[in-house]
C-alpha cells in the first residue's frame, strides 16, 4: 500500500479565490492510499516547503501530490524537496489547479472546486502507481571530431584545442582552408584571407591536441553522445576514431548557372568564384558588370543566399580601386547590418553603379566586337540602359554540397528542403541538431559571412566541449521501453521517433523494437504510434493513465448520483 500525502496550495488568492481549498483537502483525505492532506498559503514559500517536508517525515509518506500552479515552473522545486525528504523524485505528482482550474473558472467557485477535486483524484490515482526512476549516467570520450577543414571547421577545431580538448579534423581535400583558398580578400575589412587561414592552421598544428586528417573520407558514424565511433578512410586504410562529440562543418558549394546569360557559351561570363580566382591571379578587367540573384529568388530556388550582394560589393570596389568601372545589377541590395551597409555606402560613393531589375524583366546579354553588351530595364530610372563591359560576373547562390545527402544519412541528421542541414530549432537552437552530441556550423547550415561562420564555429566548439568537460551525460529517466512479448516489429515507432533512438533488432529469431535510452527524450511519440500497446513510457504508462481516467469517471458518477 502506498502512503500518499496531498498538499493543496492557495497560491495567495490565485487559487483560493475560486477553489474552496479546505474542502478539497477534506475530499483528498477520503481518497484511497491517502494518509495525509493539508493546505498551504504558498506551497512554494520557504514556510510551505518546510511544512511539507515535516509532514513527509512525520507521516512516513512515500508519495507526494501537490495541487498548485504549473509544473513548468515549480515541478523541479517540489521534486528536489522530495529528494531531500528521502523520496525518489519520480514519486512526486503535480496537479495544476491554477492555470487548469481557478484562473479559467474564476467566476464559478462551485464548479472550480469540483473540478479541483477531480484533478486531485486523478493525480492521486496515478501517484499510487508511480515507480521510482533513475537518471543513469554514461561516460564521455574526451575527444571531438570536426568534419570539414574550411573556415568553420578550422575555427571550431582551433577553439577546441585551445580549450585543451583532443580534436580530430577530417578534411576530404589534400589541403586545409576549403573555399577560403579561392578568396584572396575578405570583406568587409579587406584583409588577406591567407593571413587568417595561416593563423588558424598554425594554431592547430602547434597544439599537441590537434590531429589533422587530410584526404580523409568519412565512411561511417556510429554511436551516440559521449560515445561515437567515426570511421575514416585515409590512403585506402580505414581508421576508427572514438569521440564524445561531432561538429559538422562541411561548407557549401557555388551553384553553377544553367546556361543563363550565355554562361559557358560566350566568353567573358563567369561565376563569382571564378572571378575571385581571377582576382587572385591579379587579373582585373577594366569594366565589370555583376548580375545578382542568378538562379536564386525565383521559382525553383526561392531563397536568398545572403552573401552574394556583399561579395559583389567587395569585388566591385576592388575593380574600382584598380582604376576600372563596375556596375551591380540587382533586385535588392542585401547589405544587412552595420558593416555591410557601410560597404554599400562606400561602393556608391566610389562610383560603383547600381541598377535594379525585376524578376519579370531580367537583363539581356549580347556580344559586340570585343565588348559585351548588357541591357537592363532599371526600375529606378524607369527606362532601359545598355552597359558596355569586358566581363560579366554572375552572382549565383551557395547551394548544399552534392555529398550532403550521404553525410546526412551517416550522421542521421536532417536537411531542409534546400538541402542545407536542419538545426534543432531555427530560432533558439541554431547550432544543435535534435540528435545530442552532433553540432552544425558554417554555410553547411546556411550561407554565412566569414565572421558569422567563425561565431557559429565557436558556438559549435562550446557545445561540443560541454559534455567532454563534464565527463558524463545524464540520461532522461522518463524514457520509453518496448515490451518484447507484445512488439510485432512493425517499425511505426522508428518512424515516429524524432531522435533516432529506436531500432528494430533481431531477438530470438524475430524482429522487435529496441529503445536506446541514452538517445530517448521521453517525448512519447512512439507510444502513440504503437498499435500493439507494446511501447510504454515511464511515468506515463497505460496503467497509470487508465487509473487517472477511472478516477475521473468514478468521481463524475459520485457527483451525478
Amino acid at each position: 500500500m502506498a502512503r500518499i500525502g496531498v498538499f493543496i496550495c492557495h497560491c495567495g488568492h490565485n487559487i483560493a479565490s475560486a477553489v474552496a481549498v479546505e474542502e478539497v483537502v477534506k475530499f483528498a483525505r477520503t481518497l484511497p492510499d491517502v494518509v495525509y492532506s493539508d493546505h498551504n498559503l504558498y506551497s512554494c514559500s520557504e514556510e510551505g516547503l518546510g511544512s511539507i517536508k515535516k509532514s513527509i517525515e512525520e507521516n512516513k509518506l512515500d508519495r507526494v501530490v501537490v495541487a498548485a500552479c504549473t509544473p513548468r515552473t515549480h515541478e523541479p522545486l517540489f521534486r528536489r524537496l522530495c529528494e531531500q525528504a528521502g523520496i525518489n523524485k519520480y514519486l512526486f505528482e503535480f496537479v495544476n489547479i491554477r492555470e487548469h482550474c481557478s484562473w479559467i473558472h474564476a467566476k464559478e467557485p462551485n464548479a472550480a472546486t469540483e473540478k479541483a477535486k477531480k484533478l486531485v483524484a486523478m493525480g492521486v490515482s496515478k501517484a499510487a502507481l508511480l515507480e521510482p526512476q533513475v537518471e543513469s549516467e554514461s561516460g564521455v570520450i574526451p575527444t571531438a571530431v570536426v568534419i570539414g577543414g574550411g573556415l568553420a571547421g578550422l575555427t571550431a577545431a582551433a577553439s577546441l584545442v585551445a580549450q585543451d580538448i583532443d580534436t580530430h579534423l577530417i578534411e576530404m581535400e589534400g589541403k586545409l582552408g576549403g573555399q577560403l583558398n579561392d578568396i584572396s580578400i575578405l570583406a568587409p575589412n579587406f584583409e588577406k584571407s591567407a593571413d587568417l587561414l595561416n593563423k588558424l592552421v598554425s594554431e592547430l598544428k602547434k597544439s599537441e591536441r590537434g590531429h589533422i586528417h587530410l584526404g580523409a573520407k568519412l565512411v561511417d558514424v556510429k554511436g551516440f553522445v559521449g560515445n561515437f565511433e567515426i570511421t575514416v578512410e585515409e590512403e585506402g586504410v580505414q581508421n576508427k576514431i572514438p569521440a564524445g562529440a561531432i561538429i559538422l562543418a562541411t561548407g557549401t558549394q557555388e551553384h553553377q548557372p544553367e546556361g543563363e546569360y550565355g554562361f559557358r557559351k560566350a566568353p567573358g561570363v563567369v561565376t563569382q568564384l571564378e572571378f575571385e580566382r581571377a582576382l587572385q591571379r591579379g587579373e582585373v578587367p577594366k569594366r565589370v558588370v555583376f548580375i545578382q540573384c542568378v538562379g536564386s529568388r525565383q521559382p525553383g530556388r526561392e531563397y536568398c543566399s545572403r552573401i552574394c550582394c556583399n561579395t559583389s560589393l567587395k569585388n566591385a570596389l576592388r575593380v574600382v580601386e584598380a582604376g576600372g568601372t563596375a556596375a551591380i545589377i540587382h533586385r535588392d541590395i542585401m547589405s544587412y547590418g552595420a558593416a555591410w551597409e557601410e560597404l554599400y555606402r562606400q561602393a556608391s560613393e566610389r562610383g560603383v553603379a547600381f541598377f535594379r531589375y525585376s524578376l519579370e524583366d531580367k537583363p539581356r546579354i549580347s556580344a559586340e566586337n570585343k565588348h559585351i553588351l548588357v541591357e537592363v530595364f532599371d526600375d529606378n530610372l524607369g527606362e532601359g540602359v545598355t552597359l558596355h563591359t569586358d566581363l560579366v560576373v554572375l552572382a549565383t547562390p551557395l547551394v548544399s554540397r552534392d555529398d550532403s545527402g550521404d553525410v546526412s544519412r551517416m550522421l542521421k541528421v536532417p536537411r531542409d528542403k534546400n538541402g542545407f542541414y536542419l538545426e534543432a530549432h531555427v530560432k533558439l537552437r541554431p547550432i544543435e541538431f535534435a540528435t545530442d552530441g552532433v553540432f552544425i556550423c558554417g554555410s553547411a547550415r546556411w550561407p554565412s559571412s566569414a565572421r558569422e561562420v567563425m561565431c557559429q564555429a565557436l558556438a559549435a566548439a562550446a557545445k561540443a566541449a560541454i559534455p567532454i568537460k563534464r565527463g558524463k551525460v545524464v540520461t532522461e529517466a522518463i524514457t520509453a521501453w518496448s515490451d518484447p512479448d507484445k512488439c510485432a516489429g512493425c517499425g511505426n515507432c522508428v518512424i515516429a521517433c524524432p531522435y533516432e533512438a529506436i531500432e528494430i533488432v533481431d531477438q530470438d529469431g524475430r524482429k522487435i523494437a529496441k529503445v536506446n535510452e541514452t538517445q530517448c527524450k521521453g517525448c512519447g511519440n512512439c507510444v502513440a504510434a504503437c498499435p500493439n500497446d507494446a511501447m510504454q513510457q515511464r511515468g506515463f504508462t497505460t496503467r497509470q493513465l487508465s487509473a487517472m481516467i477511472d478516477a475521473l469517471v468514478k468521481r463524475a458518477l459520485e457527483e451525478s448520483s
Binding site: 497560491c11 495567495g12 488568492h13 498559503l41 504558498y42 514559500s45 520557504e46 513548468r72 515552473t73 523541479p76 585551445a162 580549450q163 585543451d164 575578405l186 575589412n189 584583409e191 587568417l196 593563423k199 588558424l200 526561392e302 531563397y303 536568398c304 545572403r306 541590395i333 542585401m334 547589405s335 544587412y336 547590418g337 552595420a338 558593416a339 551597409e341 557601410e342 555606402r345 526600375d379 529606378n380 530610372l381 524607369g382 527606362e383 531542409d416 530549432h425 531555427v426 530560432k427 533558439l428 537552437r429 541554431p430 547550432i431 547550415r445 565572421r451 558569422e452 561565431c455 564555429a457 565557436l458 558556438a459 566548439a461 562550446a462 557545445k463 566541449a465 560541454i466 568537460k469 563534464r470
Partner: protein
C-alpha cells in the same frame, strides 16, 4: 577554484551565454538592469519566420537560468565598477533596492491588486498602466514583485502602506537599501542589446502628433494575447479595428541624418507582423514601404513570398515623404513616391501606421563600455575589431554577443552567445 564570469544583460543573448557558461562549469553572475530577465524577446508576440510564440520558447530558457546550479541572477542590478583586468577583474554589482524581500515574495500579486498608484508601463511600451508595485510580465523570472520607488506613495510621501498590509508573506520592506556584491571575474560578457530609436524625432512620420501612428514594438504588444488589449487589434484614435495598415521601414536607419546602418531585422518582423494582423482582423490589408527587402536568413525569402501570395501583403519600394493626420483625426494620410522612373507622388489613407524605427545600442551600452574600458564603434556598438576573434572587444577578457556588437537577429545572437562560452574557455585555459 571555479572561475567566475559576469554576464551583463539578461536578454536572449545574455541568457544563452549564461546557460552555456554555466553548463561548462563556470560560476556565472547574470546581471540584468530591469526586475526580470527576458529582454526584448519577452516583449515580442511571435518570432519570424516560424511564427513561434516568443515567450513560449523563451520562458523555458529563463526558467533554466533561474534553476541552474552555476548561475546566480542579479536582477534589478547594475555594474557599479570594474577594476583591474583579465583574468582578474574586480567587479562590483549594485543590487538596487526593490523594497521586497525576495526570499519571501511568492509573486501572488495580492499587493499589485491593492496598490492605488498607476504609472506608465514600460514593458507594454506605454500602452497601459502598471502599479507602483509590479511584475513586469506574468512569466517574469524571478517571479517577484518590485516596488518602483519613484512612484510608491509610502516611499515618496510616507503615506499608504497598503501593499505591506495585504502581503500575507510579509515580503514588503520599505526600509530596504541598495546592496553590493563584489567578485573577481575571469571574464566579462557584454550582452546589453538594443533600444528603439526615438522615431518622434523624425517629425515627418507623425509619431506623437498623429494618434494612429505607433511603433512596431507597440504593435507586438497589441498583438500579444497577454498584452494591453488582450490581443485585440484596434487603433488608438477611436478604438476600432483597422482595416488598412501600413508599415514604414528604415525609420531613422539607413539614413545619414540619424543612423546610417541597417537594423537587420525590420524587414522580417514587419513581414511577420503583417501576417499576424490577419489572424486578428481577417480582412485587414497590409502595405510595407521598404527600401530593399532584406530576407537573407533561412526561410526568410519564402516567408516574404508567403506574405505576398497567401496574405496579400503589398510591398511598395518607397520611402514615404510625409505623414499627416486625416482630416477627421482618424487614420493617417501617407504621401509617397510610387517609384519607377520619374516617380508619381501619391497620397493614400491608412487606418493605422506602424513605424519600424532604427534599433540602437541600448541606453546603458556606452556606460558599461566606459566602466569596462572597451571602445565603441562609430555607431555606438561595442567594437570587435579582431577578425580572428570576432566576439572579442578591444579589451582582453571582455567579450560581446548579440545586438550590443552589431545589429542581428535572434539565431545569430544565440550562436554568438554560445560562442562566448568557447572563447571564455579558451582565454581562461590560456591564463592557467
Amino acid at each position: 577554484m571555479t572561475s567566475k564570469v559576469v554576464v551583463v544583460g539578461g536578454g536572449i543573448a545574455g541568457i544563452q551565454a549564461a546557460l552555456d557558461l554555466g553548463d561548462m562549469g563556470y560560476e556565472v553572475h547574470l546581471v540584468e538592469r530591469t526586475p526580470s530577465i527576458g529582454g526584448r524577446m519577452a516583449q515580442l508576440d511571435k518570432t519570424f519566420p516560424t511564427n513561434d510564440c516568443s515567450l513560449c520558447i523563451l520562458s523555458p530558457k529563463m526558467i533554466s537560468c533561474a534553476g541552474h546550479e552555476n548561475i546566480k541572477l542579479h536582477t534589478y542590478s547594475e555594474i557599479e565598477s570594474a577594476d583591474g583586468g583579465f583574468p582578474k577583474t574586480r567587479v562590483r554589482i549594485r543590487e538596487k533596492a526593490r523594497y521586497v524581500i525576495l526570499s519571501r515574495c511568492t509573486g501572488c500579486g495580492d499587493c499589485i491588486a491593492k496598490c492605488p498608484v498607476k504609472v506608465t508601463f514600460e514593458f507594454e511600451e506605454g500602452l497601459s498602466k502598471r502599479k507602483a508595485v509590479y511584475l513586469p510580465f506574468p512569466q517574469a523570472v524571478p517571479r517577484k514583485v518590485t516596488i518602483d520607488a519613484e512612484h510608491c506613495r509610502m516611499i515618496t510621501e510616507g503615506k499608504c502602506g497598503v501593499c505591506k498590509k495585504v502581503c500575507q508573506a510579509g515580503a514588503i520592506d520599505y526600509e530596504q537599501k541598495d546592496s553590493f556584491v563584489d567578485l573577481e571575474a575571469g571574464a566579462v560578457v557584454i550582452a546589453t542589446g538594443f533600444d528603439l530609436a526615438d522615431a518622434s524625432a523624425l517629425r515627418q512620420y507623425g509619431l506623437g502628433t498623429c494618434k494612429d501612428v505607433i511603433t512596431s514594438l507597440q504593435l507586438e504588444r497589441i498583438l500579444s494575447a497577454a498584452g494591453p488589449t488582450g490581443g485585440r487589434l484596434t487603433r488608438p484614435s477611436d478604438d476600432t479595428e483597422p482595416k488598412k495598415l501600413a508599415f514604414v521601414q528604415c525609420v531613422g536607419s539607413r539614413d545619414s541624418r540619424m543612423f546610417k546602418y541597417c537594423s537587420s531585422v525590420c524587414c522580417m518582423y514587419a513581414t511577420k507582423e503583417s501576417i499576424l494582423v490577419r489572424e486578428h482582423v481577417p480582412d485587414i490589408e497590409s502595405t510595407i514601404f521598404y527600401m530593399d527587402m532584406r530576407a537573407t536568413g533561412k526561410g526568410f525569402q519564402e516567408f516574404v513570398l508567403r506574405a505576398e501570395r497567401s496574405y496579400g501583403v503589398r510591398y511598395i519600394r518607397s520611402r514615404p515623404a510625409e505623414v499627416q493626420p486625416a482630416s477627421d483625426g482618424r487614420g493617417v494620410l501617407v504621401t509617397y513616391d510610387t517609384g519607377g522612373g520619374i516617380g508619381e507622388q501619391r497620397t493614400e489613407k491608412f487606418d493605422l501606421l506602424v513605424l519600424c524605427p532604427a534599433l540602437v545600442p541600448s541606453k546603458g551600452t556606452s556606460e558599461i563600455a566606459r566602466i569596462l574600458g572597451v571602445e565603441l564603434d562609430e555607431n555606438g556598438f561595442i567594437m570587435t575589431p579582431d577578425t580572428r576573434n570576432p566576439i572579442d572587444s578591444t579589451k582582453k577578457g571582455v567579450l560581446v554577443c548579440g545586438f550590443a556588437g552589431e545589429p542581428m537577429d535572434i539565431p545569430d545572437s544565440v550562436a554568438q552567445a554560445t560562442g562566448v562560452a568557447a572563447r571564455v574557455a579558451e582565454l581562461l585555459q590560456e591564463a592557467r
